[in-house]
């Protein structure tokens, strides 16, 4: 099991409800979404053509890519539309402390999840 590194990213109110914002941390660009009751973080690249997911419209717990309307789950990283697409994106565990969104950066090994949702993607 690889220990995650928690990084303080931004004040909660920097992300309006039901919107996403991009954040570059190290060599990664994340898209962090405010779902009202929690924040979810994923890689900011649609598995289709690399569209900026942070600019998508939130539909429930998924986001719709602004380029070609692929729908990606923010909880699991799986592509929900088109159906039967095996591609997915990486998700990151988040928590909120003192009004700040904190994201766990390093990948946890598959099967070793303690927090956050199941991630079917392997590291890239």
């Amino acid at each position: 099991m690889i220990e995650g590194r928690w990084v303080r990213v931004t004040e909660c109110d920097n992300i309006p409800p039901r919107e996403g914002r991009a954040a570059r941390i190290g060599d990664r660009e994340l898209a962090i979404f405010n779902l009202g009751d929690r924040f979810l973080a994923v890689d900011n690249r649609c598995p289709h053509r690399g569209g900026p997911l942070c600019d998508g419209i939130v539909a429930g717990t998924a986001v719709v890519c602004p380029l070609h309307a692929w729908k990606v789950s923010l909880e699991t990283g799986a592509v929900e539309r088109p159906a039967n697409t095996s591609a997915c994106i990486r998700t990151y565990a988040t928590r909120v402390e003192a009004g700040v969104v904190i994201v766990e950066l390093q990948l946890r090994a598959v099967g070793e999840l303690t927090t956050g949702a199941l991630n079917r993607c392997t590291d890239t």
Binding site: T10, N14, R24, I25, P52, D55, I57, A59, G60
Partner: protein, 799 residues
């Protein structure tokens, strides 16, 4: 020919006359009405109060109908006396009219309970169009209204006043609402729904006094409470108007007593409607009037035979979002109650069954099965086999089942009295395929509209080429057609996307419905809605067009394609400064700067110093022009100025889909105006205004809307069409689909040929929207959110 005098120009009297006219003419007919309006649908007054219908929309028989049928109509005359010996009636204008046969259709009046101060200004009944007009004049934002009476009428009045902006309290004498139609549980559910709408409900209180000097200032209740009120509506029930019958010496109990042939105790006097009492029952609903009218028409014309045996009492509350239905005898005495309730959903259903037959039904929160129950009630169907499925249809029920179960003689439309059989005949014999054709042919579903779903289902099941003429639902998140949604948002005064999703949808929304709802709200409230950027596509969040690489393109507004050296210099400088990858002249006579980073957008806009060209949105794009009379040797109209002016009038506004326009100075059409959404085509001495053209994925020549002489008239025609499309176009429906869907004739009729008031309304709403519209690029200086354009700057980084 004998003389028939009808006292009362309401639904009952006129419906009966309509039936009488179906027989060989044997009467010279005069109708007296004390209201000044022709016969209208009283049951739709609540829709007028709620602003869903205009007063004229509820007219049932226009003046031409009376003329065509040779009926003398005396409006504004109240008959005060009857002399049954001499066979005359006397009006309050002093006129004396002789009759051979007299028909009393005097209806009923609002019951005024013993409350002190009912004579004060600001106290109203809610019975007539006049009452409704007065209420509409007084109602408005912030006005405090108290409705005395929590029956059907009181609740509809309360909702109407609330839609008009009033703060409304309903005071009801009984312990639960609508106690004549609902059991206490049903009343409880209903009260919850009214409270959810924001209407305060006080139960079990008696109003003692209307307080105030000359004008109502409040009402005092028996428990000592005093409620502030600028407006008091008394809806405490109705009383049959029997004064004339008394004077004529007729047998009268609560109402004028009639037998099964609809005869009174005087062989030359008949009575119908809310003023009569039949087998001990006085009806206050519409369906009985029509049934009575048919019987009475036979009796009165000497074709005695048909009998009236009473009508099953059924009532529906006409408040959108508050579904209430009640029919028959729902008391549990000697009956087996069958119930279902779910407090979270706000659904309550109760059926009462006696000897295996349905005898009563109450539905609150979900009335979709009401027709099935009405049919069981009417036919006395044996329910033994269906006992397990009384409240829910059997799993995977066949869609046509309810229809199939209905008897041919079953009434589908209770307001107009149309049976299933009549509809099937219309479908087979008149070639009816759509709901609007059905309405035209049979008048079914033109009353309260509650049978629309059933009519639709019948058409679907029976019509060989059924066409859905209401558009498909917007999406699964809010399963309503866009027409429907516009109506809901307007009448329910909804102003934010999330509110709509929470109340009428799944609470979540998606990329399909959110932008559509955003557009509708902006259009309906002329920009005065709660803008929610999370419901907008990225282009409308940052006012630029997202490219395949996630960068953006920037198109400044160059009205009519006319620019200046100075603007061009600024564009060139900005393109270099921000390392724009491509500078492109577009097909719309504009310049596109491609490859701008999101965070640079506010800066490049500031450097450009030009307004947004809206090239990224469903909104006003541009007007393409030719050089017209200024330089062209063929030009006959100043198309450049006209085009620039048109662009100025429409710019910054949003539309169902993009709107591209053109203006040309002669029929050579160099700027291709005839394939634009709106085109001005200059001719010698006139302009043609054309609409619905396309040169996109389909190519379509625009239709001629109108030919006018002046530029101003052309611009105004364009404005009328533009606003009409904004209000009636479905989101993502281009004008070329819109015009085809409606037909250019209808578009003309509703815009350039519409009555003055309608045209003015369109122009007013356009002006209102325009007054609020802003150049979106100003948000570069004043962002709606501090991270609108910039990525997050992480507080800490990975070491």
């Amino acid at each position: 020919m004998k003389t028939l005098v009808v006292v009362g120009n309401g639904m009952a009297g006129v419906a009966c006359v309509e039936q009488i006219l179906k027989y060989e003419r044997c009467f010279d007919i005069t109708i007296f009405g004390d209201e000044t309006h022709v016969n209208y649908s009283r049951i739709l007054l609540s829709s007028v109060l709620a602003g869903e219908l205009a007063p004229d929309d509820i007219t049932l028989n226009p003046l031409e109908w009376y003329q065509r049928n040779d009926i003398r109509l005396r409006l504004g005359v109240r008959i005060g006396d009857v002399d049954a010996e001499r066979k005359t009636v006397t009006g309050d204008d002093g006129s004396v009219t002789s009759y051979d046969t007299l028909l009393l259709a005097t209806g009923s009046s609002a019951f005024m309970p013993p409350i002190e101060g009912l004579d004060k200004d600001g106290v109203f009944a809610f019975r007539t169009l006049e009452d409704t007009r007065k209420l509409l004049q007084r109602a408005g934002s912030g006005v405090k209204a108290v409705v005395i009476g929590g029956g059907l009428l009181g609740l509809e009045a309360a909702r109407g006043l609330q839609v008009q902006g009033c703060n409304v309290t309903v005071v009801h004498l009984m312990a639960t609402l609508m106690e004549r139609q609902l059991d206490p549980d049903g009343g409880y559910y209903l009260a919850g729904k009214m409270e959810d709408l924001g209407i305060r409900v006080l139960l079990g209180r008696t109003t003692t006094t209307v307080v105030g000097s000359d004008r109502a200032e409040g009402v005092a209740l028996d428990d000592g409470t005093v409620l502030e009120a600028d407006l008091v509506v008394v809806a405490a029930g109705i009383r049959p108007n029997v004064q004339l019958a008394d004077k004529a010496g007729l047998a009268v109990n609560r109402g004028i007593v009639v037998n099964d042939q609809m005869e009174t105790s005087d062989p030359d006097i008949f009575a119908i409607g809310e003023c009569v009492e039949h087998r001990g029952v006085c009806y206050g609903l519409v369906a009985p009037l029509l049934e009575q009218g048919k019987v009475l028409a036979a009796t009165i014309t000497g074709n005695k035979g048909p009998v009236y045996t009473g009508t099953l009492q059924a009532a529906k509350l006409k408040i959108m979002g508050v579904d209430v239905f009640s029919a028959g005898d729902w008391s549990e005495q000697n009956a087996e109650p069958v119930r279902y309730e779910d407090r979270a959903l706000g659904v309550y259903k109760k059926l009462t069954v006696r000897d295996g037959k349905l005898v009563g039904a109450i539905l609150v929160g979900d009335t979709s099965d009401s027709h099935r129950y009405m049919d069981w009630l009417r036919t006395g169907a044996d329910l033994t086999d269906r006992r397990r499925h009384l409240l829910f249809p059997p799993p995977a029920a066949d869609g046509g089942l309810d229809i199939a179960e209905m008897a041919d003689s079953a009434t589908v439309c209770g307001c107009v009295g149309v049976t299933k059989n009549a509809i099937i005949q219309a479908i087979h014999e008149k070639g009816v395929n759509t709901l609007s054709q059905l309405k035209e042919t049979t008048r079914a579903s033109t009353g309260c509209g509650s049978c629309t779903g059933l009519c639709q289902a019948l058409l679907k099941a029976v019509a060989p080429e059924f066409e859905e003429d209401t558009k498909k639902v917007l999406c699964g998140c809010v399963p309503f057609s866009q027409d429907n949604l516009r109506e809901i948002l307007r009448s329910q005064r909804l102003k934010s996307v999330q509110e709509v999703l929470d109340i009428y949808g799944n609470g979540l929304g998606c990329e399909v419905c959110k932008p559509a709802l955003s557009y509708m709200l902006d259009m309906l409230w002329c920009g005065d809605h709660d803008e929610d950027r999370s419901a907008r596509f990225i282009n409308d969040r940052v006012h630029a067009n997202i490219q395949k690489d996630g960068m953006f393109s920037v198109v400044p507004r160059i009205r009519g394609g006319v620019t200046t050296p100075d603007e061009l210099r600024r564009i060139a400088n900005a393109a270099e400064k921000y390392h724009v990858r491509m500078v492109k002249i577009t097909g719309s006579q504009r310049i596109d700067l491609l490859g701008v980073k999101k965070e640079d957008l506010p800066k490049i806009w500031a450097d450009l110093g030009m307004p947004s060209g809206q090239a990224y949105t469903k909104g006003v794009r541009m007007v393409k022009t030719c050089v017209g009379t200024d330089f062209c040797r063929f030009g006959v109209q100043d198309s450049t100025s006209a085009g620039i002016e048109m662009e100025r009038r429409f710019e910054h506004l949003y539309t169902p889909h993009k709107v591209k326009m053109g203006s040309v100075g002669c029929p050579r059409n160099c700027a291709e105006a005839t394939v634009k959404d709106i085109g001005l085509v200059g001719q010698e001495g006139s302009w043609q205004v054309v609409v619905g053209g396309a040169a996109g994925k389909s190519v379509r020549k625009a239709d001629l809307l109108i030919t006018v002489e002046t530029t101003e008239a052309a611009l105004q025609a364009a404005e009328l069409f533009f606003q009409y499309y904004r209000e009636h176009g479905n989101y993502l429906e281009r004008t070329y689909d819109f015009v085809v869907r409606l037909g250019i004739d209808k578009v003309r009729k509703d815009t350039v040929y519409a009555p003055d008031a309608v045209r003015q309304g369109l122009l007013d709403r356009l002006q209102k929207s325009k007054a609020r519209a802003r150049d979106a690029w100003q948000e570069g200086q004043a962002p709606v959110h501090r991270t609108q354009f910039i990525p997050l700057q992480p507080i800490e980084q990975l070491a």
